[in-house]
Amino acid sequence: MVDAGKQDALLAQLRKGTLQYCVLALLSDEERYGFDLVRSLAETDGMVTSEGTIYPLLSRLRRDGLVETTWRESSSGPPRRYYRLTKSGRAALDAFKAEWGPFRDSVDHLVERKA
């Protein structure tokens, strides 16, 4: 029996290393604004607990040059800051994908062996 706190901490650990690549992946086909990004992430189970934490992450990605932003007028309210993948952002995403596939398979292989 694993208590709920430990379960949360585990999920938080898993999320920590991967969330930024999920954000980069969401931006790989189209530019998006913050609220839209958060909504997509929130629809995916377990990806975000506090939606607000996406914004420090976006800010960091921008400063690291992995995404760039443009303000665009919105038909329904104040202008929105749109995020778009940069070249190095795409490279980082590709590098992650190359590692992630084999890594996930290895973990699956190990944890599901006895199950």
Partner: protein
């Protein structure tokens, strides 16, 4: 429509701003602005906004303390010391001497206050600058200005001495509206110079007591 949702949002953003205090200013601004934008977008999507809707939006965003903890980690900013800073004699001494130090020991008293202010770990650099700049000398300067304005000051307020009698004119109204403007200005300056050190001390005292408040949502 009740103003409560607006108040909730305002309180949340204020709280967030306080929690993000350790972050560089531009990053703090960016995060607060983006989250404010998020709230606007989320509220715009509601047909008939209720207070519960707004509370849900804020709760989904998360506790400002959690967002701040995450942001500190992202930007590799050191977390504030786990145990809240306990104000001691250094802080009390700084507050007292900044305000009235110059009255106890002219000039030197205030400088000791400034030294204690900068030695203390209880305030950040911005607070320390405020404490130093508003107002150098504290109430000592106020007293000095009040005395000099009340004594020799009448010459500057009421114009030059009467050339015939050599005395100062009793009635200053003849010198025109610019003089009464000067009066008002002097009065305002005196008030500002007396009030500012008190406000600054109160502010620094408030910052001493400031603890991250409990969650808003």
């Amino acid at each position: 429509m009740s103003t409560t949702p607006d108040k909730l949002v305002e309180r949340y953003l204020k709280h967030l701003e306080v929690e993000l205090d350790d972050l560089p200013r531009d990053r703090r601004r960016e995060i607060v602005d983006e989250i404010a934008g998020h709230i606007v977008e989320a509220r715009a999507g509601l047909e008939h906004e209720t207070e519960a809707d707004v509370r849900n939006i804020l709760e989904a965003l998360g506790d400002p303390a959690d967002i701040a903890a995450d942001a500190r980690e992202r930007f590799e900013v050191e977390a504030p010391t786990a145990t809240p800073y306990k104000p001691g004699w250094i802080e009390v001494g700084a507050l007292v001497l900044l305000l009235v130090g110059a009255l106890i020991v002219p000039i030197v008293g205030w400088f000791i206050g400034v030294a204690l202010l900068w030695i203390s770990g209880a305030w950040n650099v911005r607070d320390k600058l405020i404490g130093t700049l508003f107002v150098p000398g504290g109430l000592g300067l106020s007293l000095f200005l009040l005395v000099s304005a009340g004594g020799g000051g009448s010459s500057t307020i009421c114009g030059d001495p009467d050339p015939k009698t050599g005395g100062y004119p009793f009635n200053c109204s003849e010198t025109g509206s610019s003089t009464s403007f000067t009066h008002v200005l002097t009065f305002a300056l005196v008030i500002a110079v007396v009030v500012t050190p008190i406000v600054t001390t109160a502010y620094l005292g408030y910052r001493l007591r400031r603890q991250p408040a409990a969650a808003t949502a």
